[in-house]
């Protein structure tokens, strides 16, 4: 597949934030609408310009919330987009789909959004365990949801190559250091030491509590358009140098990719081919990190290190502030906030826009000033991967 003609042709031109973390008495819809309005304002667009709206999937509404649909978000934003969509199962194709719509000419400005009131609403991502009986037969054996699913994969990886808590501890501690520099990160004021990681209780072994990301209130949105149109807008655009997607799809229980290669390998290949660069050209990474192991296996599948070499690769703060290859510079899902793939992607954009304050890559954090940042999104249990390479213009 040759996608070279798309290299740098489309750009991200605005990012919308909301209050985040623990923000009680708010509906998920209110966060969506606020994030979207802020993204439109950030880009310097009019709401009428938005002709594409894509939402990430929404889980069961919490409290007395209504079901989140793109219709509802469009209504509350007062827009009537030509194209709307929302995936239902965490297939992370939003950006690739947006590029396709822009390239085909159906849309000029696509707005992508995710929001939830998961912290205040005490979402566990375990519908089957908290709202009655399981929806599948896994609960028959006491297997409930995502933590166990990812832990199964991580355990298999421990068996196949040299990994485990010693590797994942580096991921958790390094990301926490970034969060400590990010005032809006949920864990901004909470330090995390190796000792605390090791002393933490098991959640589902081999994962301790620090291996899993917490849930958050809040929302995040961004806007994609052509690089040509981007030139007239408020922000210096960040171009999409490469993008790829891959969906291994198989349920983790029957999968043969627990220890990799996950979809990151194939999606990464597509994105790097389109960009015409190699991993040596990457200045920083924003990697989807629902669990610590997800960061390890994704970077491994991209080729940053061989199977089991992560243990040494992460050591010495390579990915932490001051490190050679910064990873998840907002704190990531593990320590900033959970907005699905928008946490990593928007951080990549903000870093390249030079808008990251104390955590800004460059002299401030004794890191390389970034030109190119690699971002990933991952859905289901390694069933969907989206890879994006961003570049400062």
């Amino acid at each position: 597949m040759n996608l070279k003609h798309l290299r740098d042709k489309y750009s991200i031109v605005g990012v919308g934030y909301t209050a985040q973390g623990n923000v009680p008495n708010r509906t998920a819809l209110s966060f969506h609408v606020e994030a979207c309005a802020n993204a439109i304002k950030d880009a310097g667009l009019k709401k009428e310009d938005i002709d594409g709206l894509m939402c990430y999937r929404h889980f069961e509404p919490l409290g007395n919330d209504t079901e989140i649909t793109p219709y509802l978000i469009a209504q509350y934003l007062g827009i009537k987009p030509r194209i709307i969509s929302q995936e239902a199962n965490c297939a992370r194709g939003h950006l690739v789909n947006a590029i396709s719509l822009l390239e085909a000419g159906f849309c000029k400005y696509v707005l992508i959004t995710y929001a939830d009131n998961a912290f205040s609403g005490e979402r566990t991502f375990l519908k089957e365990a908290t709202h009655g009986e399981p929806v599948d037969d896994n609960g028959v054996f006491g297997e409930f949801g995502l933590v166990a699913n990812y832990a199964l994969a991580a355990r298999r990886a421990m068996h196949v190559f040299d990994t485990g808590p010693e590797t994942w501890m580096e991921v958790a501690v390094s990301q926490r250091k970034w969060a400590n520099l990010n005032p809006i990160a949920m864990m901004n004021k909470k330090l995390l030491s190796y000792e605390e990681y090791n002393d933490a209780r098991w959640l589902i072994e081999p994962f301790r509590i620090y291996d899993a990301c917490p849930v958050s209130d809040g929302g995040r949105a961004y806007i994609v358009t052509s690089t040509e149109r981007a030139g007239d807008l408020k922000q210096k655009p960040v171009s999409i140098m490469g993008a790829g997607q891959h969906n291994p799809s198989v349920d983790i229980h029957q999968s043969d990719f627990m220890e990799g290669p996950t979809g990151a390998k194939e999606a990464g290949k597509t994105a790097f081919n389109m960009a015409g660069i190699s991993i040596d050209d990457i200045d920083a990474c924003q990697i989807y990190d629902c669990f610590t192991y997800t960061v390890e296996i994704t970077l491994q599948d991209y080729g940053f290190f061989g199977p089991g070499e992560g243990k040494d690769w992460f050591k010495g703060g390579r990915t932490a502030p001051g490190g050679e290859l910064p990873v998840n510079t907002s704190g990531g899902l593990l320590s900033e906030a959970y907005f699905m793939g928008l946490t990593p992607l928007t951080e990549g954009v903000m870093q390249l826009m030079n808008r990251c304050g104390d955590r800004q890559l460059g002299p401030k954090t004794k890191t390389k000033e970034p030109e190119i940042i690699l971002c990933s999104d991952n859905g289901g249990v390694f069933q969907s991967n989206s890879t994006v390479i961003l570049r400062r213009p």
């Binding site: 028959v140 054996f141 006491g142 409930f144 098991w202 959640l203 072994e205 029957q254």
Partner: protein
């Protein structure tokens, strides 16, 4: 005492499997065209798309492909079981089955460990295939 844990919910695809369990048989579909043994059950073979299928019975001797140890109860009925092991057992015929490893200390469970099926009769309708360390090991 009434059984408080979730019960299987057979559908038209999975009913023959659960019926087999009640008879203490691990039944899987084998494609008559290409011989592929599939799990979960499906109307077509995912390899060759043939609908010609026969049911075979596994002797239930497999190995632990991967496992986790629950230290937190995500469902009240499992609270008294903590810590407990959920695992994927790979059967020689091919299927990867989600199950529990029982009759084994949680710290003794290892990937690739040989295991064999042991049946837990939970009521008149259902028996659950669980696995314990292989006796001839």
């Amino acid at each position: 005492m009434a059984y408080k844990k979730p019960l299987p919910k057979p559908n038209s695809d999975t009913r023959p499997f659960w019926d087999g369990c009640r008879d203490h048989e691990l039944r899987f579909q084998r494609c008559k065209e290409c011989g592929h043994v599939r799990w979960p059950p499906s109307i077509i073979c995912p390899r060759c798309y043939s609908t010609e299928t026969e049911w075979i019975v596994s002797d239930g001797k497999g190995r632990v492909y991967s496992f986790v140890v629950y230290h937190v109860a995500f469902h009240p009925a499992f609270k008294d079981e903590l810590p407990y092991v959920t695992a994927i057992v790979e059967l020689p015929e091919g299927p990867h089955l989600l199950t529990n490893i029982v009759e084994c200390d949680t710290s003794e469970v290892k990937c690739d460990m040989p295991v064999e099926v042991i049946w837990e009769d939970i009521n008149e309708e259902f028996s659950l295939p669980k696995f314990k360390p292989a006796s001839d090991n």
